[in-house]
Symmetry: C2
Subunit: 196 residues, 2 copies
């Protein structure tokens, strides 16, 4: 197996990249001047040293605590609970959320062997019990079986805490077409209808 095949195999291990796309990518890198290959190589080799987990929220950051957790202008009384660090990035891009985050590190999935103990739920409870004065918890979890299970579990174990818990609205995506929407989403849109 030569250098080319080895690199194609490595690239095809990345999410969303099959054998064909990996080939296309590696040939593209080879066809170009070596600057791209060298920069990619440099950034990859330093990645795990440069990016650590924030000790407060669990998101990825260069400095601990992260820019969100250490920002005094953010509303530290609202915590948005997300599945993974990438979700923080996606939500930050909407510039819609003024609060801080908590990364669970997964969703409860008994079939995959992920139980509540594998997630950062105790850390979340510690944050709620701490001196932060947390008033609201927004569960920004996927509307899937795992997301629903995790949301229900959190609601249950937090029912004695004086904190308001909400979950992101689920329904038809903007620009969607009622004709093509699946039944589950449509019935959820009915149940979650809002007064205008």
């Amino acid at each position: 197996m030569n250098a080319l095949d080895r690199l194609i195999t490595l690239f095809s291990k990345l999410p969303g990249i099959g054998k064909k796309s990996a080939g296309r990518i590696v040939y593209h890198i080879l066809d170009n001047n070596p600057v791209l290959a060298v920069s990619l190589s440099k950034e990859l080799s330093g990645l795990h040293q440069a990016i650590i987990r924030c000790s407060v929220c669990g998101g990825f950051t260069e400095a601990d605590p992260c820019t969100v957790c250490s920002d005094p202008s953010r509303d530290h009384s609202i915590i948005c609970v997300v599945e993974c660090a990438q979700d923080v990035r996606v939500i930050e891009e909407t510039r819609e959320f003024p609060g801080v985050y908590h990364v669970l590190g997964g969703l409860i999935a008994p079939l995959e062997g992920i139980s509540p103990a594998n997630l950062t739920i105790d850390k979340l409870i510690k944050r709620l019990c701490g001196t932060g004065g947390v008033k609201e918890l927004i569960l920004a979890l996927n509307p899937t079986i795992e997301g629903d299970t995790t949301a229900l579990y959190l609601q249950k174990i937090l029912k004695d805490h004086p904190v308001e818990i909400s979950r992101l609205a689920s329904g038809m995506p903007v620009g969607g077409n009622i004709e093509y929407i699946d039944k589950l989403t449509l019935s959820r849109s009915f149940r979650g209808r809002v007064r205008v």
Copy 2:
């Protein structure tokens, strides 16, 4: 811009990878143990040193001449002319072609400023005039305007050479459906129909 954003920007420069996929890939690499990042980094840094162009066919190889060109069991009297080095790989995977290759390094595209002089056409003519005894030239070029133009150009300048020139069959893909095939492909299938 931190290390994470820099790597996402670099990944999104690769073909077929948008900003979103790049994010997903980088977070996947971060979530995993550093072995993947380190191997990728190592292979990328050595890629342009390890892989060179074959001085005979122009394909990518670790040793010059490449394994195909230096293989005495291949039929050196048939040359398959391809656009780029990746096409060699794709054709080799079919195990259908017993001859050798010639990589043009592109297709004639006047609008993009690619003229015959930018391709390895003189090198191809030298191979035909050499002592190799080349009998057949198979033009494995895309059935696009650029591919057609390049094929026509090659036919024209090689018309005095005693070499048989053919082009890959163009028509309906295997498993295709006449109902959904575009008109151009369908009419080409009619013109290129084969006696059964």
